[in-house]
């Protein structure tokens, strides 16, 4: 899979792929790996990523294990964080402000949005830091660097899966029935994973060079939360602002996730736009990451 651009005929990079010159030309066997200058083209080496796939597993395992080591509550934090946040928002928006969430009870409305949102926010926060906090690895050993921020996202999926039990309990409590819409839940989780991965890849690569992003990140996350229909329904947004909200893929993903959870009708055009933007963002992030990757060890 080529990510366009700068693809010169000799732009082949390492491992298992066909080298750029023929056997006859070299006179001997083909090299196992060819190291060329940093001016070469950008491409996503899928074969290499596949070759190292077990590393993603081990990095994810590390991130999950390390996160709750030496804590009193351990893995319970995965549940405490969304539950407490849900209570606060239920109190403020459900009781005091009384926002209209239609057919969905506010606690369920908030929790369904918050689970996805917290997955996104935590994944992005962790992956943004990931390359810099793993600089000892980056400067000492070669492996596809993409796996470092990616492991932060996959570790987030583990948390999300555990926290999903809360949602099961709460839908049971409110007696929400099953429907075929439920089958699409993994699809929206997948979309959110892709979005978290693309933002995480982009931010982590840029943070290697510009540490400013670390300081800006809490604001970005906070603003993004308020710009997304996580704790309030999209219906409270005035008509002319709603077009703008279309550009925020979180909106389409969260609303779609709720619809499939509650068995409500899907807003397909909105979901399609969110999916399209996510895919585009992912391609841009892959490109930027690969472009900057070769200089990580030198500037980190």
């Amino acid at each position: 899979m080529d990510l366009q651009a700068n693809k010169s005929p000799q732009s082949q990079t390492p491992v298992t792929t066909q080298p750029a010159f023929s056997k006859q030309e070299l006179g001997t066997e083909k090299p196992h790996a060819l190291i060329k200058s940093e001016e070469e083209g950008v491409q996503l080496n899928v074969a290499e990523l596949w070759d190292f796939r077990e590393l993603l597993y081990f990095l994810t395992l590390r991130d999950v294990k390390v996160r709750y080591k030496q804590t009193l509550m351990g893995i319970a934090w995965v549940l405490i964080q969304p539950v407490l946040t849900m209570f606060i928002f239920t109190l403020v928006f459900g009781r005091f402000v009384k926002v209209d969430t239609g057919a969905i009870p506010y606690p369920l409305f908030a929790l369904s949005g918050l689970l996805l949102w917290l997955f996104f926010a935590n994944s992005v926060t962790n992956s943004t830091q990931s390359l810099v906090s793993n600089s000892n690895l980056i400067t000492k050993v070669y492996f596809p660097r993409m796996f470092v921020p990616a492991a932060s996202v996959t570790a987030g999926i583990v948390d999300l899966s555990v926290a999903f039990l809360l949602l099961v309990v709460l839908t049971g409590y409110y007696r929400v029935g099953l429907s075929w819409h439920n089958l699409l839940l993994p699809f929206f989780v997948l979309l959110m994973t892709m979005l978290a991965l693309s933002v995480g890849l982009l931010f982590s690569a840029l943070t290697v060079k510009y540490r400013d992003l670390r300081h800006a990140l809490p604001f970005i996350i906070q603003i993004w939360l308020f710009a997304s229909p996580v704790i309030y329904p999209a219906t409270v947004v005035p008509e002319n602002w709603r077009l703008l909200m279309l550009l925020n893929p979180i909106a389409g993903i969260v609303e779609g996730f709720r619809a499939s959870l509650m068995g409500l009708p899907f807003n397909w055009p909105h979901i399609a736009i969110a999916g399209g933007i996510t895919l585009l963002l992912l391609l841009v992030s892959f490109y930027v990451f690969r472009r900057l990757e070769s200089s990580f060890a030198d500037v980190i």
Partner: protein
């Protein structure tokens, strides 16, 4: 011979200053963020850059054990980093024929909060091992580290020695066809170092290629069949370890095994005596820069006496690489001890017996003094000559069959006696 590594015109340029020379506004920075990923990395006019490597060409064959030496900043680590693909070269290319494993530090990928067991898997995976491979070798790795009873303890509670042992054990069980190591031998106690060296021998005997950077010249001459000397990013020597190590030591002390002063004006000394030449020679009288540890050698001092009537004593002080003074010797035995000299050229030699000193680089300070009527220093030259003692014919030296690092500044070949008791103790 099958090639393992082919390096062609390899160069690496680094910025010497900070990331951004001078001041940068927030707006420029934002502009930089947006355009940076789409821009070719350019270094401007090159005034703020240094070449860590410049036009390096090197071919290494399968099964070679090559030592890379050089001063700090000569480019050794940069070369290993490029070969292990941590960083990319600025120009040139490298072809690697075989699976590469690199050990640029001890404990790559270790996480302090994880247990020994978990770290074996994590570090193994980061260093390029498959999960099935780690599973298979797990017991062996743990046994090699001698840490079986601590497998479930977080490594942050390990002592430094335990940590290093576990880390090296993982690394030692990598089975790359090409192994690159950066100073990892300098860890652990003597017994563990011996284990590591045995492992290296084993890897080498399996026909694998090893490339290692070290400041331990004795290890380089003992283990390698080939050494490469880097200086300011370029290869300035490539060949037999003894010769290359000598070249390195000579450039270190700015002198070699033979030091001759061109004219009396440059030569150290006063109006009474001047040094003309200092060299190391063997029993046949030829200059040697690498002396086998079991052979006697002489330090020969040639000097001109310009004014007659003085009683002169040549003095030699010998130091090792660590700066430890091994001995200081005055000419006490020759006929000239109490005899005033005529104006002439003299040659004095001090003979050092074989099997006395330990292997390694040596440097000699040379002086000419008078003790009668009062102690006077006429000529003095620090670091007059540098040479090395090598211990690579173990059958003739105190080393015996042991190949590891051998401590001590002297290495006498002693007479040993061993007797067996007539009756069994059991």
């Amino acid at each position: 011979m099958r090639a393992a590594i082919t390096i062609e015109n390899l160069s690496k340029r680094y910025r010497s200053g900070g990331l951004h020379p001078g001041y940068m506004t927030f707006r420029e920075m934002l502009g930089g963020i947006i355009t940076a990923p789409f821009r070719k990395q350019s270094f401007g006019n090159g005034t703020n850059t240094i070449w860590a490597l410049r036009d390096v060409n090197l071919n290494i064959n399968h099964g070679e054990l090559v030592g890379i030496i050089g001063h700090n900043g000569a480019g050794k680590s940069t070369l290993l980093k490029i070969l292990s693909r941590v960083t990319k070269p600025t120009t040139g290319q490298v072809k690697l024929y075989g699976r590469v494993g690199s050990l640029l530090e001890v404990g790559t990928g270790f996480h302090p909060d994880l247990s020994g067991r978990e770290n074996i898997f994590l570090s193994g995976a980061i260093l390029g091992m498959r999960r099935a491979e780690i599973d298979r070798k797990f017991d062996e790795i743990l046994a090699f580290s001698e840490l079986e009873q601590f497998a479930e303890t977080p490594v942050k509670w390990y002592s430094t020695g335990m940590y290093v042992r576990l880390a090296f054990s993982v690394a030692a069980h990598l089975e790359p066809e090409i192994l690159m190591m950066d100073e990892v031998l300098a860890v652990g106690d003597a017994a563990f170092q011996q284990k590591c060296l045995d492992k290296m021998h084993q890897i080498r005997q399996q026909g694998r290629t090893i490339l290692f950077v070290s400041h331990d010249m004795a290890a380089i001459t003992r283990l390698c069949k080939r050494a490469v000397l880097l200086e300011r990013g370029q290869i300035v020597g490539d060949g037999i370890p003894q010769e290359i190590v000598n070249q390195y030591l000579s450039s270190n002390w700015k002198t070699g095994a033979d030091h001759e002063w061109a004219g009396p004006s440059e030569a150290p000394g006063n109006d009474i005596v001047r040094l003309r030449r200092v060299r190391v020679c063997d029993e046949s009288g030829s200059t040697v820069s690498a002396v086998s540890i079991h052979n006697p050698f002489a330090i020969e001092v040639v000097y001109d006496v310009l004014k007659p009537g003085h009683v002169l004593v040549p003095v030699i002080e010998l130091h090792n690489e660590q700066g430890v003074e091994l001995f200081s010797t005055h000419d006490t035995g020759s006929e000239w001890r109490h005899k005033p000299r005529e104006a002439a050229r003299y040659t004095s030699s001090a003979w050092v017996p074989g099997n006395l000193l330990a292997e390694g680089g040596l440097v000699a300070h040379v002086s000419i003094m008078s003790h009668i009527p009062a102690t006077t220093l006429h000529a003095h030259e620090r670091n007059a000559i540098a040479f090395q003692l090598v211990d690579n014919q173990p059958e003739d030296s105190a080393r015996g069959d042991y190949v590891g690092p051998m401590p001590g500044i002297v290495r006498p070949l002693l007479k040993w006696t061993t007797t067996a008791a007539a009756t069994s103790p059991i």
